[in-house]
Symmetry: C2
Subunit: 225 residues, 2 copies
């Protein structure tokens, strides 16, 4: 049965920058499941009408439609229990804090560094929508996001302290091998890396080494095709 994922794309079809869609790409790679990743733009709400909501990722597996990256990860572990993302309900529950930390602390810290690069990378049909929604969320024009580059990088470095400590102690958040926990912050870093040339990790940062370990672990399975 072919799996299909609706996947946020920029102006170029191969620019896939959503941190939430990256979670699903990593989850499928982890399980060794092939899928077709359809490029989708923010304003193509009608293409998702079948899912009952308007955001990606959306996974279509035969008759089953699942939206929301966390729900998709749970669905995949239920429908395809081999190579689990989380090996017990407790391990999965324990990652929920990391999910919310990624969404309420890490991604907001990265946002001032990368939002203008996202704006530059998205399809022109999405620009008006993107600018209006992000400027409403941040309460200022994209050009007036707080801080200069150095201050923004320092803030990211500050909030990364607990992640750095964890990845100095063990190779992956999942321990000796990556688990679904790793995919949560990894998705956020991909969001930044895909659209932005900004470097905010020192080469000797344990987080940089971990990003390389994850990329090496999954290899070609993460390629945008």
């Amino acid at each position: 049965m072919a799996l299909t994922v609706y996947d946020l794309a920029g102006a170029r079809d191969d620019c896939r920058f959503s941190p939430y869609c990256w979670r699903v790409r990593l989850a499928l790679a982890h399980k060794g499941l092939a899928a077709e990743f359809l490029p989708w733009r923010f304003t193509e709400k009608e293409r998702l009408a079948f899912s009952g909501q308007g955001r990606v990722p959306v996974l279509v597996d035969g008759e089953t439609v699942v939206s929301d990256s966390w729900a998709i990860m749970a669905y995949l572990d239920e429908a395809y229990p081999e190579r689990p993302l989380f090996d017990t309900a407790q391990a999965r529950a324990g990652a929920l804090f990391l999910k919310f930390w990624t969404e309420t602390v890490l991604q907001p810290a990265l946002a001032p560094l990368v939002l203008n690069d996202v704006y530059g990378a998205i399809h022109e049909v999405d620009r008006e929508y993107f600018r209006a929604s992000r400027e409403k969320a941040f309460g200022c024009r994209l050009e007036d996001l707080p801080g200069d580059a150095a201050a923004r990088i320092a803030e990211v470095g500050r909030v990364l302290a607990p992640l750095r400590r964890a990845l100095r102690t063990q190779p992956f958040l999942g321990g000796e091998a990556p688990s679904g926990a790793d995919f949560l912050p990894y998705g956020a870093f991909q969001w930044a890396a895909v659209v932005s040339g900004t470097t905010f990790l020192a080469p000797d940062d344990p987080i940089a080494a971990w990003r390389q370990r994850v990329a090496d672990w999954y290899g070609d399975a993460l390629l945008i095709r």
Copy 2:
């Protein structure tokens, strides 16, 4: 075999306020293991010489001596595998981020609110040591810690966002039942609660309800005897 824990105490023997010792108390309660908790003061380094270091908690189990709360939790799961704190290696590895978040984000945010109350609660033999070590760590006198009460409470409220979101979604960090993950931030809240009357959680905060659920779950097993 009787278990013994060297447990940080204040001027009163029944004032047990170390967030790290609370992790061990909770872990033993979780496993239904009885232990003797010996009151210990900061300056009684020689009483811990047998452990090869100078901090509590220290667990003594027959011939085995384990220091460091995280190592003690791992030891307990190995030596007493029933009612595991973490049900798999992956679940345990996944909690390491939460451990470091508790130590590098939550506890530092709570510190300006509670350090003077700790100072008021500790034994007089510890006062000079405590003041000197904390004033060195914070770079100011205990009386000059940053912020007024309102600003400190607001800062705690801000850093608690991801914990609040997780505990609004599920009853415990371990899911439907507490796991070792719950004990990490719970220890930090006990540190504050035992010495300080400061209220920093609104009554309807999901974190307040979770604290009550944890207390109810273990009941008398958490009593200081």
